[in-house]
Symmetry: none
Subunit: 204 residues, 4 copies
């Protein structure tokens, strides 16, 4: 019994190591560019073992994407539960936290890069879409409109879309330039623009 548990634990450790190595690799290069050998070498674990734990390349990417979503949701929940003056403050806080997460977590970086280079089968599995993130921000924006912190006359959907664009732009540029290290700074830098977006000067 103890032995079995030992084995299980060992297996889980391997699996974790593999997912983390995958994240590091996928954060560096596209899906097709990343070779399973790169991953097994990055993890220091044999290719055979990789296949014991994951059925194929797609599954590994899925695992990374799942883990990414988990980590993003954790941040999301934390922000949701923290007290905020109003919805706009919460939204800005969410963006800050998300930027910080991306900057520090290769798993999330990998997920971001994977979204742009996923084969069709995986796209179909429901990854490969910014939709859910956009829905979340949109909800907060709606709340902001309700509580008066968002005064822009634009519809919530459009605001969410624009926010997304700006955020993605900062992500892409920081991803290209310095492996996302500069993302938090970049976000800080565009905050005035976002404020103007959500609460234009004339309307405040």
């Amino acid at each position: 019994m103890t032995e079995r548990r030992g084995k299980q634990q060992r297996g889980i450790a391997t699996q974790t190591a593999l997912i983390e190595a995958s994240a590091r690799v996928f954060a560096r290069m596209e899906y097709d560019t990343a070779k399973l050998k790169d991953i097994s070498e990055e993890a220091g674990i044999s290719l055979g073992s990789l296949y014991f734990h994951f059925g194929n390349k797609d599954d590994i990417a899925s695992a990374v994407l799942d883990e990414q979503q988990t980590r993003m949701k954790t941040v999301l929940s934390a922000v949701a539960e923290a007290p905020h003056e109003h919805a706009l403050a919460q939204l800005l806080s969410l963006i800050d936290e998300m930027a910080a997460l991306i900057a520090r977590d290769a798993m999330v970086q990998a997920g971001i890069r994977l979204l742009n280079s996923l084969p069709d089968e995986l796209q179909a599995r429901g990854y490969g879409d910014y939709v859910s993130w956009q829905e979340i921000t949109q909800e907060i924006i709606v709340a902001g409109i309700a509580d008066g912190s968002v005064t822009s006359p634009r519809p919530a959907e459009e605001l969410a879309e624009i926010l997304n664009e700006v955020f993605v732009g900062a992500q892409v540029m920081s991803g290209m330039r310095d492996a996302w290290a500069s993302l938090p700074d970049r976000i800080t830098r565009v905050r005035p623009l976002l404020l103007e977006l959500f609460a234009p000067t004339g309307t405040r």
Copy 2:
């Protein structure tokens, strides 16, 4: 003479067809995902012929990137030569024209996508960088500061960087959603933000 020209023309026609087919393929998928057979089939030209005109996959990507740069420079020159009230107007016009170009031209779309999926050797050849574009916009911004149309207290470099972020964000989102068709609209939509960026309300 005519004979020679005839042969050259045929070759040039094939080469052009190949570059355009490559552009369509690279606009759809990453460098590694795109197979040379995809290109040769898209062009209706044999793989062998492809290799007669281009030495290898890298060379084809290079040719696409070269042609992209040519087309972007054409638009750039046109905007530079057109009369504008002031530098800021010129900058906004440039962005509009560039968005329109991207939306309609697979060559430019391919170039954009290639920038994110280029193998190292090609990166080294001087592609793979937004730098030159950023320098161009920065120059115009400097002119705008000089002629008073840009009133933001931020340094020109930072303004250029932020503009770039917003533009790239719109590119990426439109690229994912609808093959860049919505890019011009997206740019139109963020214009107020850009105005606020370059000429903040309090400073106008």
Copy 3:
């Protein structure tokens, strides 16, 4: 431990089989004429496996050349350690042994043939040269001059060069005519000439 050794052994066995099959193929035809499929079929091992063990065609040729050198050095050492009346006897013995080795060992035959058909990259790796063999014989000749067994007034370097020519001539002819089978006989046949070379009649 046993398990690991078992796996390694299997791999080594395959590798050995591949090198030996390569030797047989390269002994029969030039580098460019030999196809990797010839080798993999000769070895009864898949092309993929060949690439698992050797990165490319050059590496296989290198492996063959390395093994050839090893085998030649083995003979060399054996002759060096065996007792001889004088250096000239040792030299003649070395030539005999080398001829016998060439006649019986496809690895060495392959190496010989490869030397004439190696691509430039491999030439550069230090193969593709008779120099070291010539240096060895030259050293023995110098010893022969010292111990009086070599009485020719020619400089040692020239003697080594001429010896080399005669030896190579016999190699080439036997290689063309009967896959090196006749080499030992040919060497025996030219012995009087070699004696005359090292100890001319008038000087003995």
Copy 4:
């Protein structure tokens, strides 16, 4: 008529240029290593034209080999017709002349190299063999035995074979080291050995 003759002349000039370019290329590398494009570039003549004049790669090699034989026969005849004290002198003279020819004539160099790297079909066409050369020298040796200039007790065939070996050895070494430039010197250097071969000291 004149026009036709003009055209024919032009064609012959092209053909000659092609054969000579082929010779230069084949003198540098093996049959399989030499690419038809190498030849057409060396000649400065298009690949298409090459195929107009020669049916395929084999035919080009054949043409080179034919021309080589012509040139060797010319030297042979010249030596045969020149007056000599005795057959041995003629033989040595023949070897000298042949060495000089090889050293200066890329066509002959090409032929030599081709002999070792010819595909089977060409071997079958009667090239690929030193036999005829050996027969020629053997005949002279027989004459030498008859006129007393060759005093070796060895049979003529063996003498011819050994001569061949030594000559080939010198060819190969000079071919590898300096594109056959040193061949005449090498031949001069081994002359005492050859004398000893044909007229051993004790028998003169």
